[in-house]
């Protein structure tokens, strides 16, 4: 149909379409649309770096400006993926350095990024603007220094929850005095000191700075100075929020906060000294996002602060808030959309705070817009889950973590099947679900029957048999990511649903009952599925087919088997044999 419109017109129309889904749909209309679309695609999202290769990406999309890439599977966050597994960024950058000299943005999650990689980025892309490293690892502040020094138009440098070695304050000083382009700077996860004078000068001359997240090494009085220099901030991460109680510092801080009329998001707040909390009150009314998940302060102080934040949409907090604090939250913050409650003492055997299922029920009752929940607690009941489900049919993300595995309903001692069943039944838009507590095969029956929009499911210490896994794989039409640990699921369900796996991004199973033989069969049967056995116990090829594997990671891919496997990863190749790396 290319004679209908000149290419330029189609290209112009396509330039208004940004969503990946829509772009993909466009490219499927006909060959000429595919061609036009691929030449004018500027940004791409690759959810699994091994699903495709740099070469294939570059061949299809020759003019990219923005690349988002995700590497290790989610359970790597909890140390379930051994070091050295993969997700190396260097080969991607090396290929893109040739193909995309005008690359502007890299957003990476769970990738291994070395100093060499950062250095190569800084030298290869003359117009590089945005670097977001989320949950990454492998580099030191030397790499950051290269980025600071060489990227003349840098707008965003965002290190989220990323581990950085050997921090030294000097990296920040590598931003040249001519750098005024920063809009977003987040180094909250670094441990070492930065040069305060360099930081103050940098903040002072970057008048477009909207996001500034400091690390714990920045003391309270320096915070006041920085706020004075950047009253236009929209997103602030404080440094350590603790100092001796000094009246002149307190008024300095209050004045500095009062000047920040645009502030919408507040985080950091390590080691909070309650006496200094009222300094924040001037900005509370404008806050939509508040992260108190490092603030080890008691419920009363938390309640006082939160009661000033009437427009809060997102709250992250420690369980020091307790049920009483959550009740107060439910009364004050009617716009609340997302709540995350983290455990202050996750490894303690005994309860240290009064945070129970009741707190979550209160919030579900009082906050009509609540749709995203992450809740760590020690006890739960089916009744509470029923209430939450009925109160909040608009729930889209529900992650419940009862600290002790296999904990039943503490009132009835029954499994929590019915409660989670109510969640999936009432919350028809549920996209993400994490289960915990005592659960039998029954809950998976409910999930397979009702959770038709579910995209990601996390399961641990649950279920009795393969039927559970079968129900999920055969019933959840929208499932993209499934991660399972320590469940008695195995071969039968996997092999019976092999083709389902190609419709998903990935499947992770660790400490389950999956046999070596089944992995081989799965890999042989599904051509475009990479089946990885990740097992650190030594050579697998001598093991019998019936032996269970430590971890299975299966993901669809057009790139074929990995070429960069470490010694503890086995994959199946086309010759139907388990191949060692």
């Amino acid at each position: 149909m290319s004679y209908s419109f000149p290419e330029e017109v189609l290209e112009h129309v396509f330039s208004f379409i940004h969503s990946y889904k829509d772009r993909n749909a466009i490219s499927l209309v006909c060959k000429s649309w595919y061609e036009i679309e691929r030449w004018c695609r500027r940004q791409i999202f690759i959810g699994n770096c091994y699903a495709v290769s740099p070469r294939i990406t570059i061949r299809r999309f020759p003019e990219l400006r923005s690349v988002s890439l995700k590497g290790k599977p989610h359970f790597a966050d909890y140390n379930l993926v051994p070091q050295g597994w993969g997700a190396n960024m260097y080969p991607w950058v090396a290929a893109m350095a040739q193909a995309y000299p005008w690359l502007e943005e890299l957003r990476l999650k769970r990738m291994v990024v070395t100093d060499d990689t950062l250095e190569l980025i800084s030298r290869s892309f003359k117009n590089f603007k945005v670097l977001v490293l989320s949950s990454c690892e492998g580099f030191t502040t030397d790499g950051l220094a290269a980025i600071a020094a060489n990227c003349r138009n840098l707008r965003e440098l965002d290190l989220r929850e990323t581990e950085v070695d050997d921090p030294s304050g000097n990296w920040l000083s590598h931003f040249p005095e001519s750098c005024t382009s920063l809009v977003s700077l987040n180094f909250a996860c670094l441990e070492g000191e930065v040069s305060f004078s360099a930081l103050e000068r940098l903040v002072g001359r970057c008048t477009n700075l909207r996001t500034l997240r400091l690390n714990q090494a920045v003391p309270l009085d320096k915070l006041a100075n920085l706020l004075r220099r950047a009253p236009q901030l929209v997103d602030l991460g404080t440094g350590i929020y603790s100092a001796e109680v000094r009246p002149e510092l307190y008024s300095k801080l209050t004045g500095a906060f009062a000047g920040c009329k645009e502030l919408k998001s507040l985080s950091g707040l390590w080691e909070v000294v309650p006496a200094y909390l009222p300094a924040i009150y001037p900005v509370c009314a404008g806050l939509t996002s508040l992260n108190l998940s490092y603030a080890t302060i008691q419920s009363a102080d938390l309640i006082k602060l939160i009661s000033h934040c009437r427009n809060l949409q997102r709250l992250w907090v420690l369980d020091y808030i307790e049920d009483s604090g959550l009740e107060s939250l439910a009364a004050s913050c009617k716009d609340l959309q997302e709540l995350r409650v983290f455990p202050s003492d996750p490894y303690g055997a005994e309860e240290n705070v009064t945070l129970t299922e009741q707190g979550l029920v209160s919030v579900s009752e009082g906050c009509p817009k609540l749709h995203s929940v992450l809740y760590f607690c020690r006890q739960m009941t089916n009744a509470a889950l029923f209430a939450i489900a009925r109160n909040r049919p608009n729930m889209t993300r529900f992650r419940l973590c009862i600290l002790e595995p296999r904990t039943p309903d503490y009132l009835t001692l029954q499994p929590l099947d019915a409660g989670f069943g109510a969640i999936v039944e009432h919350c028809k838009g549920l996209r993400r679900l994490s289960l915990s507590g005592l659960l039998t095969d029954r809950v998976f029956e409910y999930i397979g029957t009702h959770a038709k929009r579910l995209q990601m499911l996390s399961v641990a210490f649950a279920g009795d048999s393969d039927l559970a896994l079968h129900n999920v794989l055969s019933g959840c039409k929208s499932l993209r990511k499934l991660e399972i640990r320590d469940c008695p699921f195995g071969d039968k369900a996997l092999l019976a649903n092999a083709s389902k796996l190609e419709t998903m991004r990935s499947l992770w199973m660790s400490s389950c009952s999956v046999s070596f033989g089944a992995c081989k069969k799965l890999g042989q049967k599904m051509e475009r599925l990479n089946v990885e056995v990740i097992d650190e116990r030594g050579p697998l090829d001598s093991k019998p087919n019936e032996s269970f594997v430590e971890r299975l990671y299966a993901y669809r891919s057009v790139a074929g088997p990995r070429l960069d496997k470490p010694s503890f990863v086995w994959t199946v190749d086309e010759n139907s044999a388990m191949r060692l790396s």
Partner: protein, 199 residues
């Protein structure tokens, strides 16, 4: 795996059978030989309310009867609970005023052969503290005034603050005092008269 599960015809009703018994009372299905991690559920229902938890805890006692010898410390499971490592590293013990340790500071008195130690937490304010010091060292302090310090006595209570400076007791709010006081000294004589309230 011993599985007798098939999917073509058999609905495997047993696996999803609704039973009235407590979970864990069935023999074969509960055996999970493939779960390699030693995690036990030694959880007791928490005491929140009264009657329900009592009856529930009786049932739980019966269930856990064979587990009473379990050590109190939990065995840690890799990657459980699912918390990112940067969160784990930032855990602090809860800082509360209910800290049983108290704030002990040394108190010296000019001319006394040895020092004493007092717990500042025991006192609600300056008057209680000063009374206790008077009793302990057998002296009188006199009236505090902002302008003149302690009048009508040859003694003055002083303290060393976090900056290392010697300050007169009573100038700053009580909470600020107990958080910044490192040690105390009861000065005597002409030295004492030299101290006044600093602006």
């Amino acid at each position: 795996m011993e599985s007798t599960v098939t999917y073509e015809g058999d609905l495997n009703l047993k696996a999803t059978e609704l039973r009235l018994g407590l979970p864990g009372t069935d023999e074969s299905e509960r055996e999970k030989p493939m779960v390699p991690v030693a995690v036990r559920n030694n959880k007791r229902p928490l005491t929140g309310s009264t009657d329900e938890s009592k009856s529930a805890s009786c049932a739980s006692d019966a269930r856990d009867g064979d587990r009473e010898t379990r050590p109190a410390a939990k065995e840690q499971v890799v990657g459980w609970p699912p918390i990112r490592s940067y969160r784990k590293n930032s855990f602090q013990p809860k800082k509360t005023e209910a800290d049983p340790a108290g704030i002990y500071v040394k108190v010296s008195m000019d001319g006394a052969p040895y020092l004493r130690k007092i717990d500042l937490k025991l006192y609600k304010g300056y008057s209680e503290l000063l009374k206790a010091l008077e009793d302990m060292f057998k002296f009188t302090i006199g009236e505090y005034s902002e302008r003149e310090g302690y009048n009508g006595s040859e003694y003055a209570p002083t303290y060393e603050d976090k900056d290392g400076d010697w300050m007169l007791v009573g100038d700053v709010p009580w909470d600020m005092f107990i958080s910044s006081c490192k040690r105390m000294r009861i000065m005597k004589g002409s030295e004492a008269r030299g101290l006044g309230s600093c602006a």
